[in-house]
Symmetry: C2
Subunit: 267 residues, 2 copies
DNA sequence: AATTATTTTTGTACATATTACAATTAGTAT
DNA sequence: ATACTAATTGTAATATGTACAAAAATAATT
């Protein structure tokens, strides 16, 4: 398959699914018809563009995974890749990340955080494309598989046994995992992966999993006591064959107070 | 002046100075002559593009400043702005930041760090432009004013008395100052703004200035003793009317060792 | 009904770090 | 020699971190 055919596939798929031209094609909107695509010299589009790639981490009971899609088109057809898309001309960057997240998982109201922008000249075989990486942390179970714009397959992958990824996505993933670990210490992005009411054991397991590090039970609890934004409830576990855990909940207003005094978790 | 005239100015200036078309114009390179610019409908370029903006902080003896240029062309003509430029098609993002830094200050080998990417739809009046922000910290005195591509004037501005800035540059500046403060605690970006051999008083003043925070002399020194990468020399100040300061120097190899053990300054 | 198993929760003693402040020191200037 | 200044070191009180152990609450077992 020639470079030009690759490019055609990309654009054709995009147009079919989104019923509109991709960003870079808008330039030509007035001049060409959609079925004229072959008549455009490849050098005329995909010269430069920007996209968003989402590194969606999934957490469930001590397991951290990452959501990957299998590409249905060239380039890197049949390779696993991070879900990403071109940014619409009238769409803010953050909105773009939220759209991708929603399309894939049907989740809304999730905190997505911009991390790093990748712009190596040769990172995309068809031309100059810079991409802005976003991270999100969701409950693995909350994924509702949706027939998406890009993906022929979509799957949670364990972090420590990854297939070869398309483009520079491996680099993006590794860098974003570092960023996730920094983020989880200062921002309450973890609140959405635990139930409203959670036990300290659940919280500890979550941090241990994400940070890949063990904590002492007693000392972890001592630290929690110093965090005003974690409120002890008057409820505890039922029907467990041992001393029941007390439930805690996250107190957003209290957190905002403490955050102003540039507080960090530091676990 | 019409929108189209604004756009023409931008492109014309760019071509004049850089003797090549800006990124987005490359598409048309084969079809048009440079003096044909007026014949291109404005909607055909500047629809989407990406740029780099540099937030260059200057430090000198307890004063922190930021380098701004006065724009010579529309839009925002005569406004002060962060130095920035379109990214060349065959130029990495980081290289672009280094080029801008070198053009303005003639400094090389400076650490520039990518921080945040700004992509609000309406951030540029002429079309969709996303911009990647970079920060650098240099010695204010090291600036060699150079007739640059963009600037009619170039000046160090005190951080706490800033003029109204072009585009969303005020937002970029504020956000980047936060990032600088985080960076200086974990990366040795400050080594270039102090002499090779420096006193602890100099070091303390630097951190106090950047972090806008006072430290206790004794306690600051105690912390320094725990940092293996700050080496005490057998030299001290001369001809000062008080007990002379001992010189220290930064030990890069030792720093790399400690960094692997995810060490941070935490001042 | 008493005992056991299990896991949460609290406690404790020791080491290390932080904080605020005071004392000492090594130079120039008078 | 004495005064002066700012660097350097020290100190005592407090707070935080660490490793480990004891106590407590529940269901299951005997």
């Amino acid at each position: 398959m020639t470079k030009r055919e690759y490019a055609f596939n990309i654009v054709a798929t995009f147009v079919k699914i989104n019923k509109q031209m991709p960003v870079k094609m808008l330039t030509y909107r007035s001049r060409i018809q959609q079925d004229d695509l072959y008549s455009i010299p490849i050098s005329d589009f995909f010269q430069s563009a920007f996209s968003v790639d989402c590194v969606i981490f999934g957490y469930h009971e001590g397991e951290l995974k990452v959501l990957l899609i299998e590409r249905g088109t060239e380039p890197y057809k049949n390779f696993w890749a991070l879900p990403g898309d071109l940014v619409y001309p009238n769409e803010d960057l953050n909105a773009s990340a939220l759209r991708i997240l929603k399309d894939l998982t049907s989740l809304t109201h999730i905190d997505v955080k911009q991390v790093h922008t990748f712009g190596r000249v040769d990172r995309h075989p068809l031309g100059r494309v810079i991409t802005v990486a976003y991270v999100a942390l969701v409950e693995t179970q909350d994924l509702v598989p949706v027939a998406s714009s890009w993906a022929s397959k979509i799957k949670w992958h364990t972090l420590y046994r990854l297939p070869k990824l398309a483009f520079d996505h491996r680099e993006i993933l590794d860098s974003s995992l570092d960023d996730l670990r920094k983020l989880i210490k200062s921002e309450p992005i973890w609140t959405k992966v635990l139930p409203e009411k959670f036990t300290l054991t659940q919280l500890q397991l979550l941090f241990e999993t994400v940070l890949n590090k063990q904590f002492d039970k007693g000392n972890f609890r001592k630290k929690i006591r110093g965090m005003k934004f974690l409120k002890k409830l008057n409820e505890s576990e039922k029907s467990v064959a041992h001393r029941p855990s007390i439930y805690y909940k996250f107190d957003q207003p209290k957190f905002n107070e403490q955050k102003d005094g540039d507080y960090v978790f530091d676990l």
